[in-house]
Structure formats: C-alpha cells, structure tokens
C-alpha cells in the first residue's frame, strides 16, 4: 500500500512539473482579458524566442521602442507570445487576435499559412507577416494583412563588396540554411557583391539543409577554411553559430579568419577573438515600428506588400565597422548609391545572377 501511495505522489509531482514547464509560455501571456480601448500591438515569435539574436529579437526591439515612444506598457501595450513548436503558431495568433490586439505580427515565413488562416477567420483583425506575402485562396493579397518583406540581396551585396576587398586568399564562402527562394536572395546578392569588386575571387557555396544545426555549420566552415577561404558569410540562423565556433577556434590557433554575420549586428558574438568582419543587418525592428505607427494612426497598410530595401534603410551593413578597412567602407557607400539610384540591379535568383555576371564582363 505504502508503495502505491508513493507512486501517486510521484505521479503528482511529475504532472505538476510538466504543468509548470508549460507555464513558461503562459507567464508571458499574462491576463489582459479586460477590454481596453488603448492601442495594443503584439508579436508571435518563432521557436527561437525574443532573444534569438535574429529577427524575432529584432521585431521585439521594434515593438519595445514603439512602446517607449508612445507610452505603452511592455507586457500589456506591446506583448509577445513565444511558440515552442510549429503547432503553436495558430493558437498564439488566435489568442492575441481575441485579446483585441490592434495589430498582431507573425514573425517569419514559416508562419505564412497560419497567418493566412487566422486572417481569413477574423476579417476585422489586423495582422502582419515578416518575410512572406499573405494571400487568400485565389492568390490575391489578404486585405487585412500587411506583408513585410526585405531586399536582402541589396544588403548582402554590400557585405559581398566588403568581403571581396578584404579577402587575402581570394576565396570566400557562403553558408546557407535551407535552400529556397529566401536564402537564395542572400546568396546571389553576396556573390554579385564579391564579383563586382574582385572578379577573380572564388566563392564556395553550401547549404546545411537546416537553420538549427550548428554541428553542420561548423563542419562546412571547417571545409571552407581548409580549402583556403578566409571569410565566410553565414545566412543560416542558429546553424551559423557553428561557423562562429569554427572561426574562433581557427583564430585562437593562429590563423586569422572572418565571419560575416546576418540579420543583426553580430559583432559581440565574434568576441573575444573578434572574428566578425561585419554583418548584414535586416531592420525588422524598423519595419515593425513603421507599420505599428501607421496602424495606430488608423492607416494600417492592409493588403499591401511592403518592401524594405537600402532606400528605406531596411537592410544594410552593421553599425560596428571597426574591422572594415576605410577603402571597403568607401566602396560600400559608392555601391549603396548606385543600388539606390537604380544603376545596379542586384540579382536575386541563380538565373539573374548568371545574367549579371555576363553583363559584368
């Protein structure tokens, strides 16, 4: 009998622990069921969470700075819900919509179908999606969704210019996450930038097949560096952590190599060995800030596809430039002007890149 009681007790503890573990999400959701007329903006994060050192974090920073400028409270006025798996996207979006948030953002193209579903079910709600275009069944943009996209190829072009002018071995590498239209924009922009300033450079390209496989990232970086590359541009989310680890190891053992970061200024991640040459920043924060501001003013850009490029300061090179030479910085600002005034069109697909190369010669 005694054993049975202990069994019940243990089972109870285990259940309690799992319930508590589940609260990890609940904690942030708080209790704002009270109907407020005050403006509220929310974000549903991907599994990376609001400190993924990438776009989830960037988006949250945008909302936080909006809250600061508009006297909204973080936690009620602006709020986020974290997803721990893909099946959380819909419930999280739904929760925020039903708590009467004036605008709810889904962060990342992985949430596209969920945002579309929730938007169709709640035609009065305002939603936003990053890196994708939300469409209805007839492939027409949904009227209540603002689709926020970026011209990553333009920012990647600029870091490509930096890489092309900095490499001593004339070999640079590109590590991608999952091979698809989005990351191809990074790849082709980067390659075009390198070739623009250093036509003789070799560019190694490889996709890890995952955004969360740092071991593969490290293995690819190891291959590239051994083949003689001295700069690697990593557009691969957490897979890129492996690239950083490998670069730090190499630098520690006396062979100086560089990494080019992505999405945010990754200078700090390269410390203490200082391996971050520069980063291609994607100002998700700025885009979110803009759209939220328009929403508050009653001009929510629903049904529109917003494209943030160099012109809108939506992409660009990182503010930390201590490792970049003066010459490279000058070249960057020169190319930036040319891209903005339209005299250079940066390729986004393999086909466009081929045409671009043909014109270069």
């Amino acid at each position: 009998m005694f054993k049975k009681r202990i069994a019940v007790l243990v089972a109870f503890v285990v259940v309690l622990a799992s319930v508590l573990a589940g609260c990890g999400n609940g904690k942030t959701s708080g209790s704002s069921a009270t109907k407020q007329t005050a403006f509220k903006a929310g974000e549903v994060t991907d599994v990376g969470g609001v400190d993924d050192k990438s776009f989830n974090q960037s988006a949250w920073e945008g909302l936080k700075s909006f809250a600061k400028d508009n006297n909204l409270k973080v936690g009620t006025g602006v709020k986020y819900l974290q997803s721990t798996q893909a099946s959380d996207y819909s419930p999280n979006l739904n929760t925020m919509v039903h708590q009467n948030f004036n605008v709810v953002y889904g962060i990342g193209f992985l949430m596209q179908s969920d945002v579309q579903k929730i938007a169709e079910q709640n035609p009065k709600a305002h939603l936003g999606i990053i890196d994708a275009v939300a469409v209805d069944k007839n492939n027409k943009p949904l009227k209540n969704v603002a689709s926020i996209t970026f011209k990553e190829q333009q920012g990647s072009f600029l870091v490509g210019v930096v890489a092309g002018l900095t490499t001593k071995t004339n070999k640079v590498g590109f590590v991608g996450g999952i091979n698809g239209a989005l990351i191809k924009k990074f790849e082709n922009g980067f390659k075009a930038g390198v070739k623009a300033v250093n036509p003789k450079a070799d560019i190694y390209v490889q996709y890890a097949g995952a955004f969360d496989a740092p071991d593969k990232g490290a293995a690819i970086a190891q291959t590239f560096y051994t083949k003689g590359a001295d700069i690697i541009y990593s557009a691969a989310g957490a897979t890129g952590n492996g690239v950083f680890t490998e670069a730090k190891n190499r630098t520690k053992s006396g062979k100086k190599v560089w990494v080019i970061g992505v999405d945010k200024d990754q200078h700090d991640q390269g410390l203490p060995e200082n391996v971050t040459l520069t980063s291609m920043v994607k100002r998700v924060d700025k885009a979110i800030y803009d759209v939220t501001k328009q929403a508050k003013a009653g001009k929510f850009p629903g049904g529109k596809v917003l494209e943030y490029g160099l012109e809108q300061n939506g992409v660009g090179i990182a503010p930390t430039t201590e490792n970049v030479s003066k010459k490279a910085l000058d070249a960057v600002s020169g190319y930036k002007k040319k891209i903005i005034d339209g005299s250079i069109t940066v390729p986004t697909t393999d086909k466009e890149y081929k045409e671009y190369l043909a014109n270069l010669k």
Partner: protein, 321 residues
Amino acid sequence: MSIFEVLTIIIPSTLLTAAPLIFTSLGGVFSERSGVVNIGLEGLMSVGAFTAAISTLALEHSGFGDASPWIAILIAAIAGGLFSLIHAVVSISFRADQTVSGVALNFLAAGLTIFLVKMIYEGKGQTPYITHNIDKISIPGLSKIPFIGPIFFQQVTYTSYLAILVSVLVWFIIFKTPFGLRLRSVGEHPAAADTLGINVSRMRYIGVALSGVFGGIGGAVYLVTITSNYSVSTIAGQGFLALAALVFGKWHPIGAMGASLFFGFAQALSITSQQIPYLDRLPSVIMLTAPYVLTLIVLTGFVGRAEAPKADGVPYIKGQR
C-alpha cells in the same frame, strides 16, 4: 583537394560529432544491459547540455577560466544522474512501462530546461553564449607525426579521445569485472541472479543512474564543443541517434562506439563531399541523405541480427515465473 586534405577534414570532423554520441550510447549500454530500456537518453542529454551551459556561465563568471567547461561537464554528469532517477523509480520500483516512462523523461526535460532558462535569464528563450569552449587544438608532439599527425591529431578536441578511452573502460567494467557480470545477469535472467543473492533492484538502479551520468556528459560535451549556448533546438535528435548507435552496436560498448563513429563519419562525409572535386557534381540531396542510406545498407548488409539482453524492458517481480 587531395585525398590527404580531404582526410584532414573528414576525420577530425567525425571525431568531433561522434564524441557526444559515444558518451550517451555508453549510458544506454549500462541501462539496457541491466534490463531497463532507456528511451530517455534524449532528455538526459538535454539536462546535461542545459546544466553545462548554466554552470559554465557561472564558473566563468567566478573566474575559473579555461577549467570551467571541464568542471561543468562533471556537474552535468551529476545532474543527469539525478534526473535519470525519475526513470529508475518509475520503471524499477513501480514497474511502469519503461518506454512510456522514458518518453515522459524526454518531454519533462524539454519543458523543464526551457522553463528554467526563462526563470534564470528573465524570460529569454535561450542562454547567453559561453566564452570558454573546449577548443579544437593540435595535440603537441603527436600532430607533428608525418601523415598521421594532421589527420588524427590536428583540429581535434580532447573530449573525442576521452570518449574512445572511456568506451574501452566501460567494456572492461561490463565484461571483465564482477560488477559487470552482475549487471549483465540482472538484464538477462533477473530471477536467477536473485536466487544467487544479487539485489536486482539495486543493480538496475545503478545501471539507470549510470546512463544518466553518461547521458549528461554527452549533452554537456555537445554543448561545450559545438553549440556554446542552450536553446530549444540544441538537443534535437542526438539522443535518439545515440539510442540507434546502441542497437546498431549490439548493446556492446565498443560496438556502440564504432556505430557512433560511423554516424559521425557519414555526416562529415555528406558535408565535405560537396566540396570535393567530382563528388560535388552529384545533387546535394543525394549527399544529404547519404548518412541515412549508408546506415541502412550497413545495418542490413554487414551487421548481423541485433539481440537485446533477454530481460530488457521487463520489470522484475520477485517470485514471479
């Protein structure tokens, strides 16, 4: 790239990826040899990786410097051992279904570690990066040996060699010591062992606790050599890979080590081959699927039938025939 250059990339990379798998699968050997199925290796790795992350961060902060990741591995071993006791109590004392209990361990670990990360780091979804990793180094002296040196002793971590040494040690313990004989006997025929005065429950508790210790070490090694921070996606399937290595290696420590090295090799090959002349012309999909295809081929073609310990997965009830 010459063959030599290719080898200098593939072999160190194999050793690096295999080390965490070797440790974890050795843990599985202890548990399953004692007659307790342990699906929870994945969860044990999570706990180990999580503990290693926060202890390294704390130790670095208090000035332990380069010693911090090593001490953190030991702390993670203890944490893994304690965590595995949940599995031991449920499946040995209360004779619950061992598969179900193991799965519960995985869920619990995934939820609990992230919950704790959020508690400790004010709502963040992942820990900061540790600054003192266990680095890849060239072994002094040995790396100077012509040909062999650059292949086996450059760009490697000490943990890889440690893993191989430990698996030999585990083989010795399980097959050459009285303790090992007892452990195997309760996994093969607990009733007979009981008649001879061996405390079946105690042996099984030890087996499961050791699997926790090794699983914890495996997760910790993965963290301090490869990822450097803990998040939801840090341990994603490595535990199950270790479990597969255990079966692949026929519940034998050396076999498990070999299987882990094989998995590591297959992955290194699939990545490096895309940069090797001629092989790079193959579609990358083929190379990405290669590890799994290779495993299937080896498993069906070269390894004989895998036979689990007889009483593996069967709770022992005194006096029942």
